[in-house]
């Protein structure tokens, strides 16, 4: 089995599924559903087998499949996986079957499924690409299915939202493409080798410092829009709110991760020094996003919009984790990507279920649902608490790691970011109070409990929410070697030195005194309590 092209299959299987769905007659929804499920579940199976084969101890890329493609331009078809991408890929393969089979689709199910599968192929492609050109290709192609999903199956202002999403993202992509090309050609100028190969480019580090900064900013523009980082976030509430439930799940669960993943894979890896230099900027924006997203979420009147703004806040944590440049922060960031996919995905599913039942997302029109549907309310509560970051559930682990790691390296940002924890409780609990608590009145007195199908859809998510909160070790252990390698890479190519305490190389117990007295050497913003 060692030679089996898992990664290629992961991209190809959904794409083939999409093609298969496309040839199914329009009115055979059950066939479409079967084909869609089979394709997406097949990808899931491949993903799981891949995880089993995955060597958790390696920090480098594995299962690399490499094919020449456009030799004139040094472009190759290179896929590979490491500890950062492996769980994002798995998250994708998990969420897509859910998005395909879960929500009720009211029109043109065939088109919906076909676009979904195509989207899956694109997303997984982004996570797996080790060639900048290939990456960009997948990065861009993702827009199209999502555009059609929002525009074709969304709510009232879907056209506006879809267009905004597409154009907003494209602005970033445009800059990134230029960035990629600048990087590649400057690399050629310096080394004489024209290549889009990520590993080669990252290893050579031939860019001048200022240039690297600009090129990084070009990349960052694209990632920042996708994440989205304040103040580039305004496409997100619209897109989330107007997208169909499945679309929102994928949008929040996977698509936003493309941005943060991009920062990790292409930002840190390719431009270590630039990232180190610009970290304060992005940390600030991330922190602002945490606070701002939460504050704005508090007063939202639309439940879906509220969840959307909560995403802004959550993604802010991930950004902080990434730019904190600490082992814990990075591990937490990666974990938090998965977590956010699970819990926000679940939240969107639940909001979708509410909409199915009540045909409204307006918080003011809901109320007292816990009385009528206690189990539903319980599930919502669990997911909500995960989103708030209650210890024991997945959300906490990621958030905590991000904060504790970043605290060591960038103290004051973390202090503000931690305050976001308070705000999260405010908007979530207040929303829960208004939607589920109180006395049910009017149309709210009739509210169906969860059906078996809904259980089937939400149960895996709940399972992971609890599991990752209690026992995140298997995941963290597989992320760690890669994160370590990444941090070493950054250190090697910049003047940044990760504090020993993050690294854990020094025996913490005996060295505690020295650090306590003198502050942690080398860390930015340090000076323990002096």
């Amino acid at each position: 089995m060692a030679g089996f092209p898992y990664l290629t299959s992961l991209v190809v299987v959904p794409a083939v599924g999409a093609a298969a769905v496309a040839v199914v007659p329009r009115d055979r929804d059950e066939v479409v559903r079967a084909v869609g499920l089979v394709a997406s579940l097949a990808a899931l199976v491949v993903g799981v087998v891949m995880l089993v084969q995955f060597d958790g101890g390696l920090g480098s890329f594995q299962m690399v499949s490499h094919h020449r493609w456009i030799p004139d331009w040094g472009i190759s078809f290179t896929l590979g996986i490491d500890g950062i991408s492996v769980f994002l890929v798995l998250l994708s393969t998990l969420l897509f079957p859910i998005a395909i089979a879960g929500p009720t689709v009211h029109r043109d199910y065939k088109g919906y499924v076909a676009w979904m599968l195509l989207l899956e192929a694109g997303c997984i492609g982004v996570f797996l690409s080790l060639d900048l050109f290939l990456f960009f290709l997948f990065w861009e192609i993702v827009l199209v299915p999502m555009y059609f999903l929002i525009g074709g199956w969304g709510y009232d202002r879907r056209v506006y939202a879809a267009l905004k999403f597409f154009l907003f993202t494209m602005v970033g992509s445009g800059l990134m493409l230029v960035g990629i090309l600048v990087l590649v050609f400057l690399h050629e100028r310096a080394t004489g080798v024209l290549t889009f190969d990520l590993v080669t480019l990252a290893r050579d580090q031939s860019l001048a410092e200022t240039t690297a900064k600009w090129v990084f900013l070009a990349f960052a523009a694209s990632f920042a829009i996708k994440v989205p980082i304040f103040p580039l976030h305004t496409w997100l509430p619209d897109a989330h709110t107007e997208a169909p439930t499945g679309g929102s799940v994928i949008l929040a669960g996977i698509l936003l991760k493309l941005g943060t993943y991009g920062f990790l894979r292409f930002g840190l890896y390719l431009f270590p020094q630039a990232v180190v230099d610009l970290a304060p900027l992005f940390l600030t924006l991330g922190v602002v996003g945490i606070i701002y997203g939460a504050v704005v979420a508090i007063v939202q009147r639309d439940l879906k919009r509220l969840v959307a703004y909560s995403s802004v806040a959550h993604l802010g944590f991930i950004v902080v984790g990434i730019f904190g440049l600490s082992t814990q922060g990075l591990q937490g960031g990666v974990l938090q990507m998965v977590n956010h996919g699970l819990s926000t995905g679940a939240l969107f599913l639940l909001v979708g279920m509410i909409y199915e039942r009540r045909h409204t997302r307006q918080i003011a029109e809901l109320g007292g649902i816990q009385k009528v549907a206690p189990v539903f309310a319980g599930v919502f509560m669990l997911v909500m608490l995960s989103s708030i970051g209650l210890p024991g559930l997945n959300g906490f682990v990621g958030e905590f790691l991000v904060l504790i790691g970043t605290f060591v390296t960038h103290r004051w940002w973390t202090v503000v970011a931690t305050a976001g924890v308070i705000l999260a409780a405010i908007y979530m609990l207040w929303a829960y109070q208004r939607v589920f608590q109180g006395k049910p009145e009017g149309a709210n007195t009739v509210f169906a409990e969860m059906s078996w199908r809904e259980w089937a859809v939400i149960a895996p998510l709940l399972g992971f929410i609890v599991f990752l909160g209690v026992y995140p070790k298997p995941v963290l252990d597989r992320i760690q070697p890669t994160v370590n390698a990444l941090v070493r890479h950054v250190e090697e190519h910049s003047d940044y030195r990760e504090p020993a305490v993050n690294r854990g190389l020094v025996d913490a117990r005996s060295a505690g005194a020295a650090r306590g007295a003198g502050g942690v050497a080398g860390a930015a913003g340090n000076g323990t309590g002096r």
Partner: protein
């Protein structure tokens, strides 16, 4: 007795595609006289297509000749033409445009009651002019090719006798075309004066030996750029484009957009990149400006259009901007990018206008965005096809349009014109907006309740 004048030996194979087109046109013309007023069905169109295909086949041989064992370019007819990969490439592009255009025209002409061989004759001849431009190794041959191409197109633009728009397109195209031809010609004259020859090879040799900074030469270059810029519809010489594209019979528009632009660029690239290579620093800033203007003006104006045909016209201006980007890079990669762009563009634009022709219905009038509302429901195949063409034009990955943009932008980045690259990408965003707008109307405009939610 030796002849009074030693005419150069001619290897007709060297311009076989041109010859095939011209001979085909003449045959069609003669044959058409006999078939007149009878039921000919699609015979004219089929014949035209066959001719173009024959020309394409001949390009394959030429290709073999220039890329095979014996190196590259072959000069022919007293160095007046050059057969190289470049000219063969454009021959392929233009002949393809003929094939597609002819296929498109057949139904259209019968629908509009405009049957007759003349249309195809003009198309074939026009194409031969385009080929001549691409293969020309002499400015005057370029000029003649240009005129052959254009004059036929003037007539074709006004071919729809009952449409006032068609007539207006013809007169506008003609007046401005003649005007710009004069500029081009004046450019030829000045270049001739400055270099002593109209032969591109001779000019290049001369320029390599002498550094020319005189205004005469540079002015000649500028005038050449005006004339060719007009042909390829680069801003500010673009203003005829929307009117003519919109007014002309739609198949003509498709053919015109593909062939005329390709031919124009063929000449532009050859003259500037190959011949004026030594003076690159003089013309690069100009091309830069033209490219930026084309990108910005084309995409901005396309945004506010409600007529799909006209929108596509503006988008073709934007596309011209992209091809100019490749030229601005002035590297092999840039030119390769431009060529690829043109090839991709040919298919995209002809395809798009094919859809427009079909949607246009009798009278060639239904080009308003409203005519596309709900197209995905009434004719899903057509809508899907159009979507693919539009997305390709927008440069969405896994389409030729993406690769094309990638190549030109890549080239210009390589030559370090970063600003141009960024402007190019931003124009692509704006362009995407109006392509998506059409898609929105086709797919999401089905139910009137939600269709109106157009973004700002």
């Amino acid at each position: 007795m030796p002849p009074l004048i030693e005419t150069p030996s001619i290897d007709y194979a060297n311009f076989a595609p041109e010859l095939i087109l011209v001979v085909g046109a003449l045959l069609l013309l003669t044959g058409g006289t006999f078939l007149r007023r009878r039921r000919v069905g699609s015979a004219y169109a089929i014949f035209t297509v066959l001719t173009a295909v024959a020309a394409l086949v001949s390009t394959a041989f030429l290709w073999h000749r220039v890329s095979g064992g014996h190196g590259h370019a072959v000069l022919g007819v007293a160095d007046a033409i050059v057969v190289d990969g470049y000219s063969v490439f454009f021959a392929v592009v233009i002949c393809t445009a003929v094939v597609l255009g002819a296929l498109l025209s057949d139904d259209y002409l019968r629908r509009e009651g405009l049957e007759g061989p003349e249309f195809y004759v003009l198309m074939l001849l026009s194409a031969s002019g385009g080929l001549l431009m691409a293969a020309a190794n002499d400015l005057i041959v370029v000029f003649l090719g240009l005129e052959i191409l254009s004059i036929a197109l003037y007539v074709m633009a006004g071919y729809h006798r009952r449409r006032a728009q068609s007539q207006e397109a013809a007169i506008k195209y003609f007046v401005l075309g003649a005007f710009s031809s004069a500029f081009f010609l004046y450019g030829v004259a000045l270049t001739y004066g400055a270099t002593g020859s109209t032969n591109l090879g001779a000019i290049a040799t001369f320029l390599r030996a002498n550094t020319l900074t005189e205004g005469v030469f540079l002015g000649g270059m500028a005038f050449l750029l005006v004339g060719l810029g007009f042909k390829v519809a680069a801003v500010p010489f673009h203003m005829w484009t929307p009117d003519v594209y919109q007014g002309s019979p739609t198949p003509v528009t498709g053919f015109m957009a593909a062939a005329a632009k390709a031919a124009g660029f063929a000449a532009l690239l050859r003259i500037f990149f190959s011949t004026f290579a030594t003076n690159r620093l003089d013309w690069q800033p100009i091309v830069w400006a033209l490219a930026v203007l084309s990108l910005v003006v084309g995409s901005t104006l396309a945004v506010v259009q409600t007529d799909v045909k006209r929108m596509l016209a503006y988008s073709s201006i934007t596309h011209a901007g992209y091809v100019l980007i490749g030229l601005q890079a002035a590297t092999d990669r840039g030119i390769a990018g431009s060529l690829f762009y043109l090839l991709a563009y040919t298919f995209m634009v002809v395809g798009s206008f094919a859809v427009v022709t079909l949607v246009g219905r009798r009278g060639d009038d239904s080009h308003d965005l409203e005519s596309y509302r709900g197209l995905a429901r009434t004719s899903p195949g057509l809508a899907l096809t159009f979507t693919v063409f539009l997305l390709a034009q927008a440069g969405v990955p896994f389409t030729a349009g993406f690769l094309a943009k990638f190549y030109v932008i890549g080239a210009v980045v390589e030559s370090r014109s970063y600003a141009l690259a960024i402007i190019g990408m931003m124009a692509a965003v704006v362009a995407t907006f109006f392509y998506l707008r059409v898609i929105v109307v086709m797919y999401m405009g089905g139910d009137p309740a939600a269709g109106d939610a157009e973004p700002a």
